[in-house]
Symmetry: C2
Subunit: 107 residues, 2 copies
Amino acid sequence: MSMDAVFRALADPVRRQLLDRLHARNGQTLNELCEGYDMTRQAVTKHVAILEQANLVVTQWRGREKLHFLNPVPIHNIAERWISKFERPRLDAISELKRKLEGKDHG
Amino acid sequence: MSMDAVFRALADPVRRQLLDRLHARNGQTLNELCEGYDMTRQAVTKHVAILEQANLVVTQWRGREKLHFLNPVPIHNIAERWISKFERPRLDAISELKRKLEGKDHG
DNA sequence: ATAATATGCAACCATTTGGTTGCCTATTCA
DNA sequence: TGAATAGGCAACCAAATGGTTGCATATTAT
């Protein structure tokens, strides 16, 4: 479960939107996921593959259809293991800048 | 404040580590940020520029030195506006899969 | 004044990325 | 059985990315 694969997967707006759409309605087929994009099915397949590699999407075959399911666990992981660290900053950037400027002015 | 710029900035491990290092010690110079990388200063400059464009890093000149400060606000924003949506999933992916499989098995 | 330091800027390069087209396979429908 | 549907796979392509080298500029130290 590489955090790097997850961040890279989330870097593209199309892929984030695919996750949005699965969040809105889980278990969609590839063709359903293709709807509304000005892009070939093959291009969407590539995006989905990157999401699968990051374990953000899990698939299940039903006959000739491939169903796609959102897996929110990797998102939860990066939120917990990386993003949360910056949620309570040790020092606010603006006040830090002020401190530095004051140090320059008055020091 | 484009969410896309932030996600793209976070996609690279070097840039995430730069944020880590600023989180550990704020206000470092470019040369300090270069330490420990097998990469030219100019390459690090490019990474920093991408972080600046995403407003994740704010800079301040002190003489010939450029000081870098972490700005956690964009991280907070994507956490709040995008990531949090997936933190309480409507349906757990595994149970969803089970439901689908049961539907298939039991008719 | 001169040298060293800290950084910027531009051109260039290889690899990755995001897309395409073309064709093949498997399942379902008539 | 044959056609339509859902999808996979590979080759190819342009643009973006992540890096380099070379040189210029401004500040600081001797």
